[in-house]
């Protein structure tokens, strides 16, 4: 009998042996690492030898639910994919394949359904000889031939597969051609749109010859204090159902609202991060989409915000829109490339989703190449004849196809800006916008640099906009990602309704506020120690040179730039606050001891 609220069961599938088994999660790990991202990192730390090649059969691809997954706690639908990253590398490698932990979080219904099937986690190791998919129907787990699906885009896979299994009740996630072709920046997609986008999750899945995982179940774990839980659930539902401005604006605009507001605030990635404001943002913003494209808002499991927008875009391209543009996708393939053609933008987003490519990384990489081309650091020949000018939709489409096949320029470009800068030279690393090899996302640094620079520099999966700009925020993000909760809804979980009260009711265990927060800190520190073991040091906690030398020239925030000395100062006090060595960035033994992480020493 495991901790209440959990099954304590993990389904482990070995694709080399073509077998599966159920193993138990130690209760102690549940209390210390909660689930999702935290538990996944613990497993990765325990089981992977330092320097393991992320694309080798040894790497573990984990689909982690959390203790909230499958419970109708509003907006707790997240599934965290945890694996060793094929995207990152330290400046001074100690191993051929030293890389960070990768965790990537997707909404939808997959994690809940995995729990309905009776598992808290799905761990996949090995490599199948031929393309396969994993089918999980409660206790019945089979590994099926995926030959007929191999090569399919994610949209056609979604349509074809669900038509074949019938009934509209299976949940699935899958890779597109990019993942199959081992494009490092490939992602995992579900419902043809929602993505575990970052950190190369789809590449790891492809390396296992795994096209898809499909799951259906009819169980639920037990809850320790049902009345207490019901009471909290009723209260949180009522607070959402007041339909205040917060709820209604998520429904109306989703994250798309941030396209205009972030642009005004000068915090948007524009023209490969050269600017923070895009003059034509209104053309791709909420109002334009409401008017021309969007037909329906969609919610994840038990969510009341419904930030996903579907519709149909007509024009030069006819596009079935599953979820776009949201802030990240609209910025990275829009503002960052100076693309304001709404129809073209939808085409790009749909194409990237269909190929199964991380839109943040591919948008960032395209912006980098556009800048290199404009500067004359590369010529048209380097780009296989693609005239990759700012704002050029067709050229971006061509590049994306090549990336998905790793053909010509697509081969180095598939590895992202760090690799490209290494090949191009000529100081192009100064405008290669990544940290630890992972591209920055759609939030630009100079305005609010105290927060954003620390956020990107210290993220454990390489540059990440969801990391949080200070230790406290980072630790809460760890907790959310471990519970299965969505960050967009976190402001409804305050006071009596804070997450730990749900967790206590579900498990019947006690966490003081301090203990609960310490679990978040523990998770972040464990990730850090994983990375440290892989060879990452303080020098890897940087932000790209461009931010110190480039001044915004446009909009209200013209002149904004990051102060180098201030950045170093902020980083010093960050390490100090965390109880980490300033010179190496390693958590001190004392910190590790305090967090119950002495086993990492």
């Amino acid at each position: 009998m495991s901790t209440k609220g959990y099954y304590g069961r993990m389904l482990e599938v070995d694709l080399t042996a073509m077998s599966s088994k159920v193993t138990m999660i130690p209760d102690e790990d549940i209390k210390k690492f909660i689930g999702g991202r935290g538990l996944g990192t613990k497993i990765l730390f325990d089981r992977l030898k330092p320097g393991t090649d992320p694309l080798s059969p040894e790497n573990i691809l984990m689909f982690m639910s959390g203790p909230f997954s499958g419970l109708p706690i509003p907006s707790s639908s997240r599934t965290c994919v945890v694996t060793k990253s094929p995207r990152t590398s330290p400046l001074s490698p100690q191993f051929k394949s030293g890389s960070t932990v990768s965790y990537s979080n997707m909404g939808g219904f997959f994690g809940p359904e995995l729990r309905f099937a009776g598992y808290d986690a799905l761990l996949i190791t090995g490599k199948a000889e031929k393309p396969v998919y994993i089918r999980i129907h409660n206790d019945r787990v089979t590994i099926e031939d995926a030959g007929e699906y191999w090569g399919m885009g994610t949209d056609s896979f979604d349509k074809t597969f669900h038509r074949e299994v019938g009934e509209g009740r299976w949940e699935s996630c899958y890779i597109g051609p990019a993942g199959e072709n081992l494009v490092p920046m490939a992602c995992i997609i579900n419902t043809a749109a929602r993505a575990a986008g970052r950190g190369g999750t789809g590449c790891v899945m492809g390396s296992k010859n795994l096209k898809a995982v499909v799951v259906k179940g009819n169980k639920m774990p037990n809850i320790a204090r049902l009345e207490n839980y019901n009471d909290l659930l009723e209260k949180v539902r009522q607070s959402f159902m007041k339909k205040d401005e917060g709820v209604m604006s998520w429904r109306y605009g989703g994250t798309t609202d941030a396209l205009a507001s972030s642009s005004r605030a000068g915090t948007q990635a524009v023209k490969n991060y050269s600017e923070g404001t895009f003059g034509e943002i209104e053309k791709i913003g909420t109002e334009a989409n409401r008017k021309e494209i969007w037909k329906r808002d969609f919610a994840c499991y038990a969510c009341q915000l419904a930030c996903k927008k579907s519709g149909y875009a007509k024009g030069a391209y006819n596009v079935q829109v599953h979820d776009s543009p949201e802030y990240e996708t609209g910025t990275m393939l829009g503002a960052n490339l100076l693309i304001s053609d709404l129809n073209g933008l939808h085409r790009l987003i749909e194409l990237a989703d269909d190929l199964g490519i991380d839109i943040i990384s591919v948008g960032n990489t395209t912006g980098f190449l556009m800048e290199a081309y404009e500067r004359g650091d590369i010529d048209r020949e380097f780009l296989d004849g693609i005239d990759l000018t700012w704002g050029n939709v067709e050229a971006t489409i061509e590049l994306m196809h090549k990336i998905s096949k790793r053909e010509g320029i697509g081969e180095p470009a598939s590895k992202g800006v760090k690799e490209l800068a290494g090949i191009i030279g000529k100081g192009s690393d100064q405008y290669a916008i990544h940290v630890k090899g992972h591209e920055l996302a759609a939030w630009n640094i100079p305005v609010n640099s105290d927060s954003w620079a620390v956020c990107y520099a210290t993220s454990n999966r390489g540059a990440c906009h969801m990391n949080g700009g200070n230790a406290r925020r980072q630790d809460s993000a760890c907790l959310r990602d471990s519970l299965g909760a969505c960050s967009f809804a976190s402001s409804w979980y305050r006071g009596e309704l804070q997450y730990q009260n749900f967790l206590k009711a579900i498990t019947g265990l006690e966490w003081s506020d301090e203990e609960f927060n310490r679990a978040g800190e523990r998770i972040f520190n464990l990730e850090k120690m994983f990375n440290y073991r892989e060879g990452f040091r303080r020098e890897d906690d940087f932000i790209p040179e461009k931010f110190f030398v480039n001044k915004f020239t446009f909009g209200e925030h013209a002149g904004a730039i990051v102060d180098r000395a201030k950045f170093q100062e902020n980083m010093d006090s960050y390490y100090e606050g965390r109880g980490w060595h300033k010179d190496t960035s390693r958590p001190t033994d004392e910190t590790l001891g305090r967090l119950g992480l002495s086993f990492t020493i």
């Binding site: 419970l71 109708p72 509003p74 219904f109 309905f116 949209d155 979604d158 349509k159 669900h162 038509r163 009934e167 509209g168 009740r169 419902t191 043809a192 179940g217 009819n218 169980k219 639920m220 037990n222 809850i223 049902l226 009345e227 019901n230 539902r237 959402f240 159902m241 037909k295 329906r296 808002d297 969609f298 919610a299 994840c300 499991y301 038990a302 969510c303 009341q304 419904a306 579907s310 519709g311 149909y312 079935q320 599953h322």
Partner: protein, 232 residues
């Protein structure tokens, strides 16, 4: 766990009304009762309607339906259960192109499920093993007399929405809507106001209740994409 809802003491009688694409995409699931009974106090017929234009596919309705209809005993008190969606009487089906179709018992006026039941009517009540609850007009199973043949499930699947699923062990029909004893939880908690309990017109067409058929209609309506039922 079993259905602990008491049907006693419910004063209103509930009627479900017809399916049709009326104003604002409102699609009404359900039918008149087998025997038409009107609410004596107001003289109107009320029913559950699904507005497919508003449904966001969140499946909150499944969770609350299950929690209410499958209560659990805690210290001798019956409280809402954990809300396992597999036990719900309303089910949300999703499709690509993106559309979600909540589906629950239509309380068909001709009730082909009841018609299909081969158990002889009880001489006293006139009920087969599947019958209409006299108060709420919900489709109700007499487990004692049910032989678990699955004819009712077949009838519903072939002719209507496919609501009934047979218990995998004993074959008796499950997942017929109970109307939650007169206080439909799905309506109460749907965050997007896609479900309502409203006054209905009298005539309607009971064809095309299957989630796939409805999905095909909605996809054409929303995205102007034509798909046939078999393409979904």
């Amino acid at each position: 766990m079993s259905n602990k809802i008491s049907h006693q003491g419910v004063s209103r009688r509930h009627f479900l009304s017809s399916l049709g694409f009326g104003t604002a995409g409102m699609v009404l699931l359900g039918s008149y009762g087998f025997v038409i009974r009107r609410d004596h106090s107001t003289g109107t017929v009320r029913a559950i309607a699904v507005n497919f234009d508003e449904c966001a596919g969140c499946r909150t309705c499944e969770a609350v339906c299950s929690a209410y209809n499958h209560m659990e005993s805690v210290n001798g008190r019956m409280v809402n259960g954990i809300g396992n969606p597999a036990l719900s009487n309303i089910r949300v089906y999703h499709y690509n192109p993106d559309i979600d179709i909540p589906s629950t018992c239509a309380l068909c006026n001709d009730a082909p499920c009841v018609e299909a039941c081969p158990v002889d009517p009880d001489p006293e009540t006139g009920y087969r093993a599947l019958y209409r609850d006299p108060e709420l007009l919900t489709i109700t199973n007499d487990r004692e007399r049910c032989i678990g043949c699955g004819s009712c499930a077949d009838a519903c699947r072939e002719l209507r929405a496919g609501i009934i699923r047979s218990n995998p062990e004993i074959g008796n029909p499950e997942h017929m809507c109970t109307l939650c004893g007169g206080d439909p939880q799905c309506v109460k908690y749907c965050p997007f106001d896609a479900l309502s309990y409203v006054v209905m017109d009298d005539d309607r067409n009971l064809d095309g209740l299957s989630p796939r058929k409805l999905a095909a209609k909605m996809i054409e309506k929303l995205y102007n994409i034509r798909v046939t039922e078999t393409q979904l």
